[in-house]
């Protein structure tokens, strides 16, 4: 077991290394922070001075090595404008994003699974078709559009919810629906097809033949088996949520790292952008690691196939 986890962890670290490298070079090749920050008519001498001050005049390779050198010491660099450490700026935004994405993730599971199961059990009926139609609509709607639609409906027209803010629990409702709907729709479809496959398996018929009730079969036998393949999708879902949170946070003025990223990119705050990207990449990569490990826990066949069994 430890050997397996160790190998997975090594691969995870390598992925992170690639992400950091890629982000570093792409950011520096696509725009100059100094000219983005200063007014257009600034004296070029001043610009050069600033570049020198921030170390941007040196060769890229040197900057890159220095960046790694600092990173390994826990120094993520400072913001150009106010000189605060980038990690600090990002860290104060993380809780808001975590609150949003974790709630959205819970929403995806709580809405997606039952809908998928319900559709599978009522295969071919109006219920099934209804759920699937909603599901197609759900993941076809771009989430900025869904967000604006919700604001228009619930805030502007009905005046039930404030259009922005993040202090109360009810502020979460619209952002979570905006962020989670597409995921819930995908999960519902996936759970449905996975359940249908399992419900046709010989062991389900054998369960019926020994007098298990349909309800017990669905919840204690079919669902655990059908859930195994959906775990992969859940891993991907973490990535979708983080990506989606950028748009959602912008639409609802949510004070998370998504909005921070947008602002930082516009201002070419390289250290902040790099830190945000690294943190999101790390969470995706670790989510995938978690998925791999979760497989081992719930699927005995994998446990033994990977040589980690008892």
């Amino acid at each position: 077991m430890t050997g397996f986890v160790f190998r997975k962890l090594l691969r995870t670290l390598f992925t992170l290394f690639l992400v950091v490298t890629f982000v570093f070079f792409v950011l520096r090749l696509t725009g100059d922070p100094v000219s983005a920050m200063m007014p257009d008519d600034t004296d070029p001498a001043i610009l050069d001075e600033l570049r020198k001050q921030w170390g941007l005049d040196r060769p890229l390779g040197v900057q890159y090595l220095e960046y790694w050198f600092n990173l390994l010491q826990g120094d993520f660099g400072n913001a150009y404008r106010d000189g605060r450490p980038a990690i600090e700026i990002v860290a104060e935004r993380v809780p808001a994003t975590l609150k949003l994405t974790l709630t959205a993730f819970a929403f995806i599971v709580i809405a997606g699974f039952p809908l998928g199961i319900f559709a599978a059990v009522n295969r071919g009926t109006a219920i099934d078709r209804g759920i699937m139609t909603i599901s197609v609509t759900g993941f076809s709607l771009p989430n900025f559009f869904l967000g604006i639609l919700l604001i228009f409906l619930l805030s502007v027209t009905l005046r039930w919810l404030p259009a922005y803010g993040s202090d109360h629990w009810y502020n979460l409702i619209m952002p979570v629906i905006t962020l989670g709907t597409a995921g819930a729709a995908v999960i519902a479809r996936f759970v449905r097809s996975s359940m249908l496959e399992v419900l046709n398996a010989p062991y389900i018929r054998a369960c019926r033949a020994r007098g298990m009730t349909e309800r017990a079969i669905i919840w204690t036998v079919a669902l655990p088996n059908a859930a195994i393949p959906t775990i992969t999708i859940m891993g991907f879902m973490v990535g979708t949520l983080i990506g989606g949170s950028i748009v959602t946070e912008t639409v609802f003025a949510w004070p998370g790292i998504g909005r921070l990223l947008i602002d930082a990119v516009t201002a070419r705050e390289l250290a902040v952008v790099q830190t945000v990207v690294m943190i999101t990449a790390a969470s995706m990569v670790f989510a995938n690691l978690a998925v791999d490990l979760l497989y081992l826990v719930i699927d005995p066949r994998r446990r033994y196939a990977s040589g980690t069994g008892e």
Binding site: A206, R210, G211, T213, I228, P300, R301, Y304
Partner: protein, 618 residues
């Protein structure tokens, strides 16, 4: 008025009574009867064999009796389990209370019939707790005890295994233990041993018999293998196209079948004493294309006008003899002996000068995750011109690997494989193309080896095209010749594989293999996926081809009876080793290796000891 699943007074003497059962598959637009007017009765302690070929309705009958058919099915007629009447209107909770308690069921593929992600002990414990209403602790004890009763090796250890860690036979033991959990009065066994090796099959059959003796439960044993029927059943109901055509005691049916179909089935079975199977012409009609009169009439050589227009009175399986035929056969079954195919008598292992294909000290390794796996080792055997060599053994014995070595699909890791004195070229090399003209394969599943999107005719011609043989016209002519020699009508050339039957597909595959006029045909379980009456006809075809074209055949099979009926020599494989090699008849009469004797003893056989006088008269 009777309620839907009305509780009846317990009737322990007949745990199953079905009368006038018709089961149909229906949609809004159409309705098609799969099982028609079936009546049968099983008494306590009786094992009733439900025999028939695929599509005859055996499994559907069992599923209907447990109310396990889906909403697309409609049942008419009466079904009574031990204490309960099963009808379409029975509520889910009524059915649930019956299943497992009054009647249980075991299935063909035991490994797939257990929850793959739960330990078998836990599955068994949960079932015991639920069906007997005991605590989990008590249920655990009972579950362990059940595992002992089904003679599971190391029950305490196996208790903590997952299904994928157990063999097919062990999983079937678990399934039987699960079925016994609710102390049912009736057990439906749906081909429970079909997927198992013969030695394991005979253990499971013994187990079912001894449990029957112990518990006095009735058993409905569904199978297509009359040898198995003879081994375990007390009485038999023969199903054909959804109807019972004949029923009676095993002895009577096996010795003096009265329905021509039953006779045909028995004659289709190869036997250990070398009966050459005779198949039944034609094929089982599809459920929606069943003829108006007797469904067997189109295939029956005794059929008269009346058979085609009128339906004979249905046979009932209720203890007595019954046959649904206007012109039932009388007298005992005899065997028509057919001349043995000539074979040059020679020791198969000796270094022979005119050996066509031979393996010398051959071994074959496969690369696996955990290093090399030696599938076969030290194999020395040879195939002479005109030989028919059977390679027999259980699953994992390495018999298919021998075929692969002979075909050049796998290289030998040690030793040599030679064809006419030269090493067998490996698949993918340029030499192999020429070699492939002489040695051809007939694989197990004909559907998988035919291109679903090409016509049969073009696929038969394809080898000729690949090897650039003949002009278009010549190839066309050869195609007709091949179709004919494989016993296929010429109009099949324009059909696609899914439009023809399994037997016809296998004939097409054989025709394709013969296109290049090979010297050797390697048949790897070539009849294993076919019904017995169809299998018999393919065996007949192979014998014919051998005679006409002086073809040498390597016949890889798990069925010793087939080896006996077709082959001149037999090689017995066990865990990668060749344990016995020799001529067929002497070996079957006096096997030298204990494993060969064990295999022979395990093989269920229909052969009747003495009565060999042919007396089928009207």
């Amino acid at each position: 008025m009777e309620g839907p699943a009305e509780k009846l007074k317990a009737d322990y003497s007949t745990p199953l009574e079905i009368s006038g059962l018709t089961v149909s598959l229906k949609t809004k637009a159409w309705k098609c009867a799969i099982v028609e007017d079936v009546s049968l009765r099983v008494r306590s302690g009786e094992i009733l064999g439900l025999v028939g070929e695929s599509g005859s309705g055996k499994t559907v009958t069992c599923l209907a009796a447990l109310g396990l058919l889906g909403p697309a099915w409609q049942t008419e007629g009466e079904i009574r389990l031990a204490r309960t009447r099963i009808t379409d209107a029975a509520s889910a909770s009524q059915l649930v209370s019956v299943r497992g308690r009054e009647a249980a069921m075991i299935f063909q593929d035991a490994s797939a019939s257990l929850n793959p992600i739960e330990k078998v002990g836990k599955q068994l414990t949960k079932t015991v707790a639920r069906l007997r209403g005991v605590s989990t602790g008590e249920a655990r004890e009972i579950a362990l005890d059940l595992l002992r009763r089904v003679e599971m090796p190391d029950p305490e250890e196996r208790f903590h295994s997952y299904p994928f860690q157990l063999s097919g036979g062990q999983n079937q033991r678990v399934m039987i233990a699960v079925a016994l959990a609710g102390r049912p009065e009736l057990l439906f066994a749906d081909e429970p041993t079909t997927a198992l090796d013969v030695t394991v099959q005979s253990q499971i059959l013994d187990l079912i018999k001894s449990l029957r003796d112990e518990t006095k439960m009735g058993v409905v044993f569904v199978t297509h293998d009359l040898g198995v029927v003879k081994e375990v059943c007390d009485s038999v109901a023969v199903l054909y196209a959804g109807r019972i055509v004949e029923s009676g005691s095993v002895e009577r049916i096996m010795n003096a079948p009265r329905h021509p179909y039953t006779l045909g089935l028995i004659e289709s079975m190869p036997t250990l004493s070398g009966h050459v199977p005779e198949g039944i012409e034609g094929q089982v009609p599809a459920p929606d294309k069943r003829p108006q009169g007797c469904a067997f009439a189109p295939r029956c050589d005794k059929a008269q006008e009346r058979c085609r227009t009128q339906l004979p009175l249905g046979a009932r399986s209720d203890g007595g003899d019954s046959v649904a035929c206007f012109f039932p056969l009388e007298g005992n079954l005899g065997r028509t002996e057919r001349p043995e195919l000539s074979s040059h008598s020679r020791p198969a292992d000796g270094p022979s000068t005119d050996a066509l294909l031979s393996l010398k000290d051959a071994a074959c390794d496969y690369d696996t995750r955990r290093g090399k796996f030696r599938a076969v080792s030290g194999i020395t055997l040879s195939l002479n011109e005109g030989d028919r060599l059977a390679v027999i053994g259980e699953s994992g014995s390495g018999k298919s690997t021998i075929g692969k070595l002979m075909l050049g699909i796998e290289p030998t890791s040690e030793g040599t494989a030679t064809f006419m004195g030269n090493p067998v070229p490996i698949l993918g090399t340029s030499d192999h193309i020429a070699f492939a003209r002489s040695v051809q394969l007939v694989p197990q599943n004909p559907f998988l080896s035919l291109d679903p999107r090409a016509t049969i005719g073009s696929q038969i011609e394809e080898p000729l095209e690949i090897h650039g043989i003949g002009t278009r016209q010549e190839r066309r002519a050869r195609r007709c010749e091949l179709l004919e020699s494989a016993g296929l009508s010429l109009d099949l050339a324009t059909r696609y594989p899914h439009e023809i039957s399994g037997g016809q597909c296998q004939r097409a595959v054989i025709a394709r293999a013969l296109a290049l006029r090979p010297k050797v045909l390697i048949c790897d379980e070539a009849t294993a996926s076919l019904d017995v009456s169809v299998q018999a006809r393919i065996i007949e075809l192979l014998r014919e081809l051998h005679r006409m074209h002086d073809l040498s055949i390597v016949f890889i099979t798990h069925d010793l009876r087939l080896a006996r009926s077709l082959c001149s020599h037999v090689a017995v494989m066990r865990s990668g080793q060749l344990v016995e090699l020799g001529e067929t008849s002497p070996m079957f009469e006096a096997p030298e290796h204990p494993y060969t004797s064990q295999l022979l003893a395990s093989m269920p056989d229909v052969e009747v000891a003495d009565s060999r006088t042919m007396e089928t008269m009207q």
